[in-house]
């Protein structure tokens, strides 16, 4: 997410760490680097200036000079100010406490991802909050935009307002709320056409929609790749509509995402959600302290654990636990593990959440980093017979040759897979030997056979 900025700040602070004491000049030098890094990360200039001023105020003077480890102290100050500027600790929930149907108005520039996000938000509210949601597209500008939302609704299994050709956005909005009332929906998501903040006619139109629907949330959808213009857009939409929250999209890209800081600073509205992928469930809460942690290279372990616990299916996990308890772990289970890793998202996304991993990531060509190895391993296992999967010991040369041919791989790859499987099942056997209590006493380290486990 914010790897680039992490690298920059790590470089600055590595130098700081090597020095015993800090003076004003040191802080000044560090802050110049921070300023540059923030600008390269597309944080808007006025926001950079206020951020730097806030850090300088706290860094120069007693706090730092008396500190035991001045470098660490500066890191902490930058981190604290970053969290404050991003909105303080913890995720901010959507405010949905209003008499139903609660209207949510989605606004933003063209191509920021409003329609996709509307679909994701609907799915999220249905799945997590058990709400009855109606989707309605007021986008009469872009060709097929209404159809797009209807199709997204279909894939999310969320009803959408029937399209009536020729209606104006305000008329559609009224009809949507009327349908919401009549048919007992909790929430009506109103997706609007993309518009430029300087387009007075279209801004007046969305103001009229707002007045007609009195939304509980007016969410500004912003591309994480946005540059300096983030401040202009945020200010104009906020002045015209009173933004209640921001959704940052395409956070799965490699943009440094400085727009997050800019938007928050200009509107004062919290960033409530972030889009992290093209799939409909790729919408997550925004945690300022985690993002700040990533900026500073501290990693986002909490986010990783959360994502893992959500994607690993309970049922599969229980089945696996039962098998492990019995000391049986076969290639079918291994394949299930591969599928779960696939579900967790891109490797770079997972790596990015690990502390210190951003340094490693710099050395890996991200565009070439992929999960094809897992896919290939899945294919190898799929080319085995059921008996082979249950008792991999019977796999000898001719069976391996057949499997390699069947899966479009090589015997070497089949061997590599079997070796990894061996290591993993060895680990599981040791785990069983230790038992739950032993595991608690000796920690995970007791499982390691001296070699790195496959995952």
């Amino acid at each position: 997410m914010f790897e680039g900025l992490s690298d920059k700040l790590s470089a600055v602070f590595d130098r700081l760490r090597q020095r015993g004491t800090l003076n004003e000049a040191d802080v000044g030098e560090a802050l110049r680097e921070v300023r540059l890094a923030l600008l390269e990360a597309d944080v808007a200039l006025p926001v950079v200036k206020s951020f730097i001023a806030a850090v300088r105020d706290r860094a120069i003077g007693a706090e730092v000079i008396r500190a035991v480890a001045p470098g660490q102290q500066v890191i902490k100050i930058v981190n604290d100010v970053l969290i404050e500027h991003l909105g303080g600790e913890g995720a901010v929930k959507l405010a949905l406490n209003a008499p139903p149907p609660v209207a949510i108005l989605m606004v933003g520039l063209q191509g920021s991802g409003k329609t996709t996000t509307s679909g994701k938000l609907a799915l999220r509210l249905v799945k997590r909050e058990k709400k009855r949601v109606l989707l309605a597209s007021l986008d009469t500008q872009r060709p097929a935009a209404q159809l797009q939302l209807a199709q997204l609704g279909q894939s999310a299994q969320v009803p959408s307002l029937p399209i009536v050709a020729g209606e104006t956005p305000t008329v559609i909005a009224r009809r949507a709320l009327e349908a919401g009332r009549r048919e007992g929906f909790d929430i009506v998501i109103l997706d609007t056409a993309g518009r430029l903040a300087i387009d007075e006619e279209l801004m007046a139109e969305v103001q009229a929609i707002r007045a007609a629907t009195n939304p509980a949330e007016t969410l500004l959808v912003v591309d994480a790749m946005t540059g300096q213009d983030a401040v202009n857009t945020a200010r104009a939409f906020n002045e015209a509509l009173g933004i209640t929250g921001i959704i940052l999209t395409r956070m799965d890209g490699d943009a440094r995402g400085g727009a997050a800081l800019s938007m928050r600073a200009v509107t004062g509205a919290p960033i409530k959600l972030v889009g992290v992928g093209e799939k409909l469930d790729a919408l997550e809460e925004f945690h300022p302290e985690r993002v700040a942690g990533r900026i500073l290279g501290l990693g986002d372990v909490v986010g990783l654990v959360e994502r893992a616990s959500e994607t690993i299916e309970q049922e599969e996990a229980e089945k696996l636990a039962a098998k492990i308890a019995k000391g049986r772990f076969d290639l079918d289970d291994y394949a299930a593990q591969l599928r779960q890793i696939n579900r967790m998202g891109s490797i770079s996304g997972i790596l990015g959440m690990l502390p210190g991993a951003n340094k490693l990531m710099g050395k890996i060509d991200e565009s070439k980093l992929d999960k094809t190895v897992f896919k290939r391993q899945g294919a190898i296992i799929a080319s085995m017979t059921r008996i082979e999967r249950r008792t991999p010991e019977i796999l000898k040369a001719s069976r391996k040759k057949r499997i390699a041919a069947g899966s479009g791989t090589t015997v070497q790859e089949v061997n590599r897979l079997l070796k990894q499987f061996d290591e993993m099942s060895g680990m599981i056997k040791r785990m069983n030997k230790l038992g739950q209590k032993g595991l608690m006493r000796h920690g995970i380290g007791a499982l390691m056979p001296g070699r790195r486990p496959p995952f």
Binding site: L147, S346, S367, K371
Partner: protein, 308 residues
């Protein structure tokens, strides 16, 4: 054409430049160009998305010739625009389909939401008006209703649109499109693709597959690979261009949404870094809102210079 174009581009850029203009006026009306003034100028370029490095380079060049002089606002703007126009001039190259190719195959790529489909509609119209027969391939088989969106553009501009069922293989569709374009003697084949983030390797690999498959019919295809960039994008545009260029050999850029408040200053950094041609700019949602990219007009717009 040239006169009309400049006034139309100015119209599109006028609003974008208002803030920079008033900023410059405030900073530099008859004032000595000292360190402080230059630092403020550098800041103004940064707010136009030039990026800190490119802004520093432009100002450094400016400092050599102008430092310490008493300058008026108009002088500063004029010379700053010249400085930037000189960087942009080599990349201002329009895209003209090569009649030697039947059809000239244009693959249109970019990250999500930059305006690929809209740009294809606009290009198709421009080429139809130039007397060519364009054909479109609805290669975004992933995003909901992307096919329908292109079909509507096809109807608007009078160009046939090749489509397949949802989630079809885009490469196969492109192959069929090229076969049909050859059979029917189309002059240009515009292939739309799904938006993809450049750091998703599997999706980038899909684009390469489209190219491989096209080459089975025409070893020289695609003749143009256009990367569509959103002017509101900040410094990440550099990474976008780098990766797309490396993966699919981008031949030129189109910068969209220049009618907004974003100034697209990253184009200056892109010109310095990659020297890829910038063929056109998008300045609105209508079919006619595509303009050739002109260095001096763009630079003048960037610094808020009014030219008679």
């Amino acid at each position: 054409m040239a006169l009309g174009f400049i006034s139309r581009l100015k119209e599109g850029l006028a609003r974008s430049t208002q803030k920079l203009t008033s900023g410059l006026a405030g900073v530099l009306t008859r004032r000595k160009l000292d360190d402080e003034a230059l630092a403020e100028l550098e800041d103004l370029l940064i707010t136009a998305d030039l990026g800190p490095a490119a802004a520093r380079r432009v100002i450094a060049a400016f400092r050599r010739t102008r430092f310490g002089r008493e300058v008026s606002e108009a002088e500063v703007k004029e010379s700053l625009a010249q400085e930037i126009a000189a960087i942009l001039a080599p990349v201002a190259r329009p895209l003209t389909p090569d009649p030697a190719h039947k059809p000239h195959v244009v693959l249109v790529v970019g990250v999500n939401g930059t305006g690929k489909t809209t740009t294809i509609g606009k290009l198709a119209l421009a080429w139809r008006e130039a007397g060519l027969s364009p054909m479109l391939v609805a290669g975004d088989t992933f995003r909901a209703a992307a096919v329908e969106q292109l079909q509507i553009w096809g109807e608007r501009v009078g160009a046939p649109v090749i489509t397949g069922p949802a989630n079809t293989d885009a490469a196969g569709l492109a192959f069929d499109g090229l076969a049909r374009a050859r059979a029917e003697g189309a002059d240009v084949l515009l292939i739309d693709t799904a938006g993809r983030l450049h750091n998703k390797s599997a999706l980038m690999e899909e684009l390469r597959k489209i190219i491989r498959v096209l080459r089975k019919q025409d070893a020289t295809a695609p003749h143009s690979v256009l990367l569509v960039l959103d002017a509101t994008t900040g410094q990440n545009a550099i990474e976008q261009v780098r990766v797309f260029k490396e993966m699919v050999d981008v031949t030129g850029l189109i910068v969209t949404k220049l009618d907004g408040s974003a100034r697209g200053g990253v184009v200056v950094a892109l010109a310095e870094t990659f020297a890829l041609p910038v063929h056109a700019v998008g300045v609105g949602e209508q079919a006619g809102d595509l303009r050739p990219f002109a260095a001096s007009a763009f630079a003048a717009g960037l610094v808020g210079l009014e030219r008679a």
